[in-house]
């Protein structure tokens, strides 16, 4: 019984980790290459979720919704990059934080104007609404397994992109020797826009995938953004591998904490106190994890290519 519960929670943790990885990969790439901290990354996630919901509801096709979400987030990302963010690459981090904070406020309010203040809800697509008995005795939602699979595919795809393609070579070179890449005749500005677009698309994908699992509302982007920060701090800013490891770690610790901590505390104190303290402590478990990692390695688990 407990083992089944444990395995089930492990899958939940993996699924959450995968979502975080989709977010963290883009954020960490943008930081690794442009040295830019982008708070508005969560806004692209929100755009993805809203567009996915609207298109799915209108067309009845979730796959179409996901594609539209990726396109919308990617294009929005590139447009914002062209208008504002490229002026920020050479500024200090404080400027980047403030300007992207302004962008968040704008996006949140614009979303309220376009879609209204009410939350949207999206049901799980028909084919994925069943459960699979992956663990004997514990049917598990197919949709969550689907998310894990998508995450693995994206992870492998990114690995291929970075290690084996010309674009990936430029990305790696751009992180370490920016001037050199420019001197080699590569259009750095375009490279940056493309990288930004890739990150934005992944955020849009994450938002679309999250759609059927939670309320689609203004402010959803910031919730996941902070978790994403924790992920890339743990993983090491700029490292895609670190983003993956950090995301899985955070996903598992968060899920285990919420599932098991009140349980464990109950054996130590009276149930009502255990539940309330358990809830409070498990909500901060990942931050404690982050603090511990930083005690040990102040620059995260993995070093970026450059730096």
């Amino acid at each position: 019984m407990t083992l089944v519960l444990f395995l089930e929670q492990t899958l939940n943790g993996l699924q959450q980790g995968v979502m975080l990885f989709l977010m963290a990969a883009g954020l960490t790439l943008v930081f690794g290459i442009m040295h830019m901290i982008n708070l508005a990354h969560g806004s692209l996630y929100m755009v993805g979720a809203y567009v996915a919901a609207s298109v799915t509801l209108a067309s009845g096709n979730f796959a179409l919704g996901v594609l539209a979400a990726m396109a919308a987030a990617g294009i929005t990302g590139m447009v914002v990059e062209l208008i504002a963010f490229r002026r920020l690459y050479d500024r200090d981090h404080l400027d980047q934080v403030l300007a992207t904070f302004g962008v968040i406020l704008t996006f949140n309010e614009a979303t309220k104007i376009i879609w209204g203040p009410q939350a949207l809800f999206l049901s799980t697509p028909e084919i994925l609404s069943s459960t699979l008995e992956l663990i004997p005795g514990a049917p598990y939602p197919a949709y969550r397994l689907f998310i894990i699979a998508i995450g693995l595919i994206v992870g492998l795809g990114l690995r291929h992109l970075i290690l084996n393609t010309r674009l990936g070579m430029l990305i790696r070179a751009g992180a370490t020797h920016r001037e050199m890449v420019g001197a080699m005749g590569v259009n750095i500005d375009r490279l940056f826009t493309i990288v930004f677009g890739i990150g934005a698309m992944l955020a849009g994908l994450a938002g679309a995938m999250a759609g059927p699992m939670l309320a689609i509302e203004v402010g959803m982007g910031e919730k996941i953004l902070i978790l994403t920060f924790v992920v890339i701090i743990i993983g090491g800013i700029g490292s895609v591998r670190g983003a993956l490891v950090g995301a899985i770690l955070v996903g598992l610790v968060d899920t285990y904490g919420r599932a098991f901590l009140p349980f464990i505390l109950r054996s130590l104190m009276e149930p009502s106190a255990a539940d309330s303290i358990g809830a409070a402590v498990s909500s901060v478990a990942i931050y404690l994890l982050m603090a511990m990692v930083l005690m040990w390695r102040p620059r995260g688990l993995f070093q970026a290519y450059g730096d």
Binding site: L98, F101, E109, S283, A291
Partner: protein, 329 residues
């Protein structure tokens, strides 16, 4: 000597001193309450500027200490009202509403948290520091949100404002002058601080931390001390904020609050004592005006911020005072 700088300072202080009287005369007494709010945020902004502007520590979690200060007042008042013992303290103290105990405690507790959080965050620099201060503030936010004992997400109503001898905190004008006095006292303290040996070390770290270490300064300790002082200032502001709205909730610690405080500093002018006050006044006034004009005022505020960052980095203070602003408080 009458310089442009002294003139700006003089006019600023004069406005602060006569505002309730002017509001009364103009038949708009509610303005005094609005102004009290401005001064409270000015206080937290000045405290942030000590580390952000003078020490180049880009803390994105300053709202946490603001919230802690507010919660200290909220919790002490809550127990005093319900006459229950404070569970996590030894003995059976049932709290108090006396400001002379509440407010120093708010500063102390905020300072202790700043010490713990700062000790960890200051091991990192640059973008790590920004993100980790943000993450720790969110941690406290989520902790208070999921702790039902003190209202969780709904927060706590303050059943009674803090009590001061000889003063009535329910009188808007008196509340204003108490707030004003504390702000001016903190500004005077901050001014001495940044000009002292300690302040020179802080400003040295901002300009060239490597060199500071090479000269023989244990920079970590000085930065941590500054972080704690700033946290205590925010705690005091939080205590006042709790009294102002007669409510404390996790929203006070939310990261957007930290962001707003940061914007006040930048808008007014980093690395100055008066700038953050100007910034707080401007931002809150913009909020008031724009929100009266449209429900979606944030859609204007957002691009405005981007614009300020991209094109107007010197801040209002620099614009008013000119080159003298560089004197460093």
């Amino acid at each position: 000597m009458i310089t442009r700088k002294n003139l700006v300072h003089g006019i600023g202080l004069l406005i602060m001193a006569v505002l309730p009287l002017a509001a009364e005369a103009a038949g708009e007494p509610f303005l005094t309450t609005v102004a009290s709010r401005v001064l409270i945020y000015a206080l937290v902004a000045v405290s942030l500027d000590l580390i952000l502007g003078f020490g180049a520590m880009v803390s994105f979690g300053h709202g946490a200490f603001f919230g802690i200060g507010a919660y200290v007042v909220g919790i002490l008042t809550h127990h005093s009202y319900e006459a229950t013992a404070i569970a996590f303290l030894p003995g059976d103290w049932t709290g108090t509403t006396a400001a002379l105990i509440q407010w120093p405690m708010a500063m102390l507790v905020a300072g202790v948290f700043a010490l713990i959080i700062g000790a960890m965050c200051l091991r990192t620099t640059g973008v790590y520091f920004i993100m980790i201060t943000l993450a720790f503030a969110q941690m406290l936010y989520f902790f208070m949100t999921s702790l039902p004992t003190y209202g969780g997400q709904d927060g706590l109503n303050l059943w009674e404002r803090s009590t001061l001898p000889f003063l009535d905190m329910y009188d808007d004008t008196q509340f204003y002058y108490v707030t004003c006095a504390l702000l001016v006292a903190f500004m005077a303290f901050a001014r001495r601080l940044v000009r002292s040996r300690f302040g020179m070390v802080l400003r040295g770290c901002k300009q060239n931390e490597t060199r500071m270490a090479a000269l023989g300064f244990p920079v970590y300790r000085y930065k941590l001390a500054a972080f704690v002082i700033a946290g205590m200032g925010a705690g005091l502001a939080g205590a006042l904020a709790a009294n102002h709205t007669e409510f404390v909730g996790p929203g006070l610690m939310h990261w957007t609050r930290s962001g707003e405080i940061m914007i006040m500093v930048i808008l007014g002018g980093m690395g100055t004592i008066f700038g953050p006050v100007l910034g707080a006044a401007t931002l809150l006034m913009m909020e008031e005006t724009l929100s009266g004009f449209t429900e979606h005022w944030m859609v204007f505020l957002g691009p405005f911020l981007v614009f300020v960052v991209l094109f107007a980095r010197r801040g209002l203070y620099g614009w008013l005072v000119g080159t003298e602003a560089d004197d460093g408080g």
